[in-house]
């Protein structure tokens, strides 16, 4: 049997070649299709999830509830946008939750001195960015092998500072009217915080996709050694990334303070894990250099939808945690599968080259 095949190939090399190329091009078409499915997978799951929940509980797809989800997701989404930049560079920022808490406390302290929305907002944003700068500078110039430890340290420091600075070491009521309005008011049927998230997302999208700096982030996260060899200012890129992540935490602080009309050292507990989960669930790669802002946003909304839906369905909070954990496993495996498919595509490519 095998011999016959060889003979045919010997006599009619053109047929054998055709068959071979057909086989490989069929294979690579399948791989291309799989890769495309993987890239829109998270969005697809989100849409299916929302559809299913909508059928199960009519209360889910009402404008009021959707507005709720948006308002509840706004903080995670904003901070996840910063986290996604850090993860693009192969990093991690564990300090965002504590950073956010410290920012709201500092905002509250400023509010006690001056009743100015602009000043309080600036104080929160600046506080967030400063903590980010400490992370970035200590990581890069302290020659640390990984940002895990330094951001763990600043997590502890920020939480401690926030508790120490907060009057009575607890929640401080009251925010300027301009910030409180952000949490209360709606425009075009959407909570105002939605427009803050949209603004931040649009800005970061432009920076990541249209600016040279954005290209450098992907390069540094994708192949750090090559980035050095190609003369990219790797240190500067890393520091600015952590500053932006901190700034996003500061903006998240403004949104949360607006919704609750308070600042508190207890805010943002486990927010670092929610934002990392959002980025990974959304489909960005934990290995760096791959992903976009849509991943962070889709992931954040998915977490919001799951929490909201399970609440509506009256499911225990433990099951929310289990569900989110399972989706994280799924997302990470999808990343592994994607890498395997690409390696496969490379082999087929080599086989097909003339």
């Amino acid at each position: 049997m095998g011999r016959t095949v060889v003979n045919v190939a010997d006599e009619r090399p053109d047929i054998a070649a055709d068959a071979a190329s057909e086989r490989t091009s069929g294979g690579s078409a399948l791989i291309a299709l799989s890769l495309r499915l993987l890239s829109i997978g998270p969005l697809l799951i989100l849409v299916l999830l929302a559809g299913t929940i909508g059928l199960l509980t009519p209360a889910f797809l009402t404008p009021g509830n959707l507005g709720n989800i948006v308002a509840q997701t706004a903080v995670i989404a904003t901070v996840a946008i910063g986290q996604h930049l850090v993860i693009l560079t192969r990093g991690i920022d564990l300090s965002v939750g504590a950073n956010l808490a410290l920012a709201t406390v500092i905002g509250s302290l400023v509010f006690r001195q001056v009743d100015s929305a602009a000043l309080v907002m600036a104080a929160m944003a600046l506080s967030g960015a400063l903590v980010g700068a400490v992370n970035g500078i200590a990581y890069v110039y302290g020659r640390l092998p990984h940002p895990f430890i330094i951001t763990l340290a600043t997590l502890s420091i920020c939480r401690g500072l926030a508790l120490e600075l907060a009057v009575g070491h607890t929640t401080m009521r009251g925010m300027p009217e301009g910030i409180a309005a952000l949490g209360r008011s709606t425009s075009f049927g959407l909570p105002s915080s939605f427009f803050v998230v949209a603004g931040v997302a649009a800005l970061v999208l432009v920076m990541a996709k249209a600016m040279v700096w954005g290209r450098w982030i992907y390069a540094v996260g994708g192949q750090p050694e090559a980035a050095v060899q190609m003369g990219i200012p790797v240190k500067g890129v890393l520091v600015t990334t952590y500053v932006l992540s901190g700034l996003c935490a500061g903006i998240g602080a403004v949104i949360l303070a607006g919704r609750t009309e308070a600042g508190s050292p207890l805010y943002g507990n486990l927010l670092e894990l929610d934002t990392i989960a959002a980025v990974i669930i959304g489909g960005a790669s934990f290995l760096g250099g791959r992903g976009h802002i849509g991943h962070a946003l889709v992931g954040a909304v998915m977490i919001g939808v799951i929490r909201n839906a399970l609440n509506l369905l009256g499911v225990d909070v433990f099951f929310q945690m289990i569900a989110i954990g399972l989706i994280i496993v799924l997302a990470v495996e999808a990343d592994v599968l994607r890498n395997w498919l690409e390696a496969r595509a490379r082999v087929l490519q080599a086989a097909r080259a003339p």
Binding site: A210, W216, A219, G231, A345
Partner: protein, 252 residues
Amino acid sequence: MTTPPPVLAIRRAEKRFGAVHALKSVSLEAHRGQVLALLGDNGAGKSTLVKCISGVHALDEGEILLDGEAVAIHSPAAARRFGIETVYQDLALFDTLTPAQNFYCGREIAFPSWLPQGLRLLKGRAMDRQAAAVLDRLKVKLPRFDAPVALMSGGQRQAIAVARATVFARKVVILDEPTAALGVRESRKVLDLVAQLRAEGNAVILITHNMEHVIELADRAVVLRQGRKVGELKPTRANQQELVSMIVGAEA
């Protein structure tokens, strides 16, 4: 006819790493439109020499002359500004970027010019167009121009790395074992590319262990052994054995 000065000349290069004397008074010259093969066993000093030329290491003593003028090459970025391009063995490609994005990574075409480079906006179409023109000129065929290089074969990736070097090389292209990881067919394409680089007037420095490739392509071969230059000749079929003896140190 007076010959122009060599585009790259190394004079009495010395390099030590602690107790290891990696380069001992090595001199060599590379000329435009010629391929110079750099031969030697593992640990002979080839990589050290190349790293000194491409700005990764600095020479302890000796000098590097470009077109007859002594220059100090302090960093990879400085080497590139002088017109020296290096294709590293690991290729230094960015898997998630397309060929054109890889070409210009670290040297993006962007505007406006009064902003610092990092804050400028990318001119994607201009980079795509120019990268396509270079690939076309070098007769490099890629399955898809807009796909990330992660999806391309070893030979295609090698071709992209070599082509990237040609975009910016104005004087010297250094290739560190460009065919080491490739099959016969893909090696062939890269060798054609090297010949094309030479035809376009670049000085090419080629590191390889493949004697067939040396004899086919190299106009001259410099042999290093234990950090010392032990010979320089024009490689031919006739003196292949002599070359090998020089590399391993067995006197014929």
